[in-house]
Structure formats: C-alpha cells, structure tokens
Amino acid sequence: MFKIILPIFEGPLDLLLYFIKRDEINIYDIPIARITDEFLNYIRLMQSLDIEPASEFLVMAATLMEIKAKMLLPKEKNLQAEKEQDPRQQLVDRLIEYQIFKEASKAIEEKLYENQNIYFRGIFESDIQEIASKLKTFKPANVVDLGKAYFNLIHKKEDEVKEIKLNQLKIEDGIEYITSVMKTEKQVSFSKICSGYSLPYKILFFVAILELIKQKKIYAYQSEFQSEIIFFSTSNLLN
C-alpha cells in the first residue's frame, strides 16, 4: 500500500518554492502559466479534501493569475512596460527573500544542533522559594499573557451560559419530566411546563417536546396564529 505524504507547506511562498525545486524551474524565469496551473490544482486538491485553503493561498492565486494576464498582453503594447519591469519581478524578489530566510533557518538550526548537548541549570533560588511556599505555578509573565488572561476570562463567562449548564442536562431527563407532567394533565401549555425553570431548562423541555412529538407520544395544538401551543398526550386522546 502506498501512503502519500505531502510536505508541509508553510504558506503559498513555500508551496511555490516547492514547485520550483521539484520541477527544476529557473527562479529568474518562472513559466508563470504552468506554475499558476500547478498552484490552482493544489488549491482544488485541498478543497476536494474539504480543507478550506487559508486566505493567503487565494490571494497568491489571484496574484499569479494577474501576472499571467500581464504576460499575455500583446508584445508591442507590453514593450514599454517590460522595459520598466517584468511583471514577475516582485514575486521573484519575495521568493528569493523567503529562500534566504529558509536558508538562514537551516544555519541557525545547525547552531542549535551543535549546542544540543549543553543543558543549563534548571532551577534557581527564587523558584525554590516559590516551591517552598507551595505556589507552584509562578511563571514570568509578559504583556501578552496579561491580555490573554483577560481575554480568556471574558470568554469563559460567555461560555458558561452557553455550554456548561446545558451539558449538565440530558434530553432523557426532559422527556421523563414532560411524560410525568402529561400523566396528570390532559392538556398543558408550554409556558406552564416551563414555569419556574431557567432558560437552559426551557431549551431542554422544548427539545424533549420535539422528540416526543416525533415519537407521536404527544400532539401539539395551536388554536390560532401566535397563540399558546397546547400539548396533549396521545394516550389520553385514545382513552
């Protein structure tokens, strides 16, 4: 069996450099039509795998197509512009700059490798004091940590209402409650079912009622538009 692993692309520039290397393309003379096709194929591939390409890929696709269009302009018209600048120039400059930093990252990785067998002292006096005072989670904080702490707090508050409380409720409990109510009442309104319960329970009961209607265990009846919906138990109707 063959398993195909695509190299990880750090972005559209990385992908373009990959094509250039793989197809042995001269970076100073990129066959723009061909590489645009390759690029678009890759985006289609991503989409066929249900991966929404990051916006920068789409921006690059647009850029490539723009360059391609410029290159296709009739020669005479293009002659002046060509003297000024090759439409590919800006892209090539970016690719080469990116190449340089990719190469630089290999050079610093080499440094990391040379230094890999050196470890520094792990704990310092101040850490020990903190450990001793049982406050184990001290860490140096920067301004982004501060912002993140605030951000997370704000969002935690919202999430609490949306998720945590609802997660504690089970649909079965709702069904059981509604069924028990319907045993004693021949007919009941939604507001009566919900009276005294908080919003999460109201949602739970609503979902439970939908389920019971689906199972044909209760009927819903509305006398006129926008009036209260009344529920009947099917067993009561039969009796």
């Binding site: 063959f2 991966i51 450990i131 904080a141 501060l146």
Partner: protein
C-alpha cells in the same frame, strides 16, 4: 538502563545523578530518579510502574541513589562549592549553601524577578483592563473570592487603592501602579494589548499541521513530491 547503570563506575553513576538533578526544571523526586535510571522511560505516563517499583530491586535502587546523592553532597562540601543538593517540594535540587546564600542577600541584583501565579495574572488582568474596579466586581468576573490575591498584588506593589466607589459600603477602588507598567514594559496603559490583538494570539489553529494530517490519509492525488512514496 538499570543493568548498564550498575555496570558503570560508581563515580560515573554519581555524575549522572548529579547532572540530572542539575538540569531538571523541577525538584526531582527520588522515585523519578529511579525511574529514569531503571527504565529510561519515565516520561511515558501510560507505562505502569507500580509493578516494578514494588519490587525489592526498586527499593534497593532508591537506597542506592540516596547513598550516591549523599556522597555528592560530601564532595561538594569538601571541595568548598558554595552550593549543594537540597530536598525541597518533594524532590532534589541544587541550591546555594546558607552561608553563601547570605552573601547573595547583600547583593541588590538578586531581588526576585517578579513572577505571578495564574490567579494573580488573571486578577491583575481584570484590574489592568477595567480599572478603577472594586473587589466585588473582580470577584464577579473571576467567580471566586479574590481577597488573598488582591492582597498579594498590593504587597507586590503592582496595584494600589485609587479611591472609593460611591455605592453601598463604599468599597475600595483598585488600579495598577507604575511598578506594574515597568514590570510589563509599558509606557502607559494605552499600550496594553487590545482584545483584537490578543485574539490573534489565542484563536488561531495550526492550519499547516491540520492539512498534513488530513492529506496523509489520502491514497492518491496529483501532486506527488520527492519524499512521498514511503511504504
């Protein structure tokens, strides 16, 4: 590693224990030292060590390591190093000797860098962004009593009382200090990251990795590179 370890010269055994303690980022418990020596897989939480560690060999190993640590301590003392190995927070770590620790306390450089617990950071964040703010309001956001935390922030001089609120009980209003600005390298409160900036730090998913994972499962596709056809 156990067998190899015991085959080593006792001096080398000591050096290995010493270097592990030296480089560990937390005080390292005896049991963990044993595990590292014993099976070289202490990092694997799924492994069940209980079987091995109940075995008498393990106790012997613990004893053996303790002996080695004591010998290292003796060496450090005899060679007059100004530090030794101490046991703190349930593990072993290096620390200055009390004698030379005193020398350090005379030096201005060794004031602790300000460090914050998660709870302190949280509380400080609320105060920084919503100042002036009262303790009840802070507690409303955090959902928990924050008296102790507010006090320790006051002690660290990161917050201060800036007034009283005109509401029942006239609670204190808290705000951040200049010390706070200094600690976070800010010139003014205007420079606090705004929530949109922070969002860009917390919400992103690593798309690149996601993409590779998904593509790895695909059997065939048009783009095949150099390093692809493995097995």
């Amino acid at each position: 590693m156990l067998n190899i370890f015991f085959e080593l010269d006792r001096e080398i055994q000591k050096r290995i224990i010493e270097v592990i303690i030296f480089a560990s980022e937390e005080p390292i418990p005896l049991q963990k030292l044993s595990e590292i020596i014993l099976k070289n897989r202490s990092n694997n939480k799924l492994d069940n060590f209980s079987e091995q560690t109940d075995r008498p060999e393990s106790n012997n190993l613990n004893q053996h390591i303790l002996h080695l640590i004591n010998e290292i301590r003796d060496e450090l003392e005899q060679t007059q190093r100004p530090y030794t190995i101490v046991e703190v927070g349930g593990g072993f770590t290096f620390a200055t000797t009390p004698e030379f620790g005193k020398v350090l306390s005379l030096l201005p450089t060794f004031k602790n860098k300000k460090r914050l617990t998660k709870a302190m950071l949280e509380t400080l964040a609320i105060i920084a962004y919503q100042q002036p703010i009262t303790k009840p309001e802070i507690e409303e956001i955090r959902g928990t009593n924050s008296s102790e935390i507010v006090n320790s922030l006051l002690e660290k001089n990161l917050i201060q009382i800036v007034g009283r609120k005109d509401s029942p009980g006239r609670p204190f209003l808290f705000g951040t200090t200049n010390e706070f600005l200094k600690l976070f390298g800010l010139n003014s409160l205007d420079e606090l990251p705004n929530l949109n900036e922070i969002k860009s730090f917390v919400n992103e998913k690593n798309r690149a990795e996601e993409i590779t994972l998904k593509i790895e499962f695909e059997q065939e596709n048009k783009i095949d590179g150099e390093q692809n056809a493995t097995e």
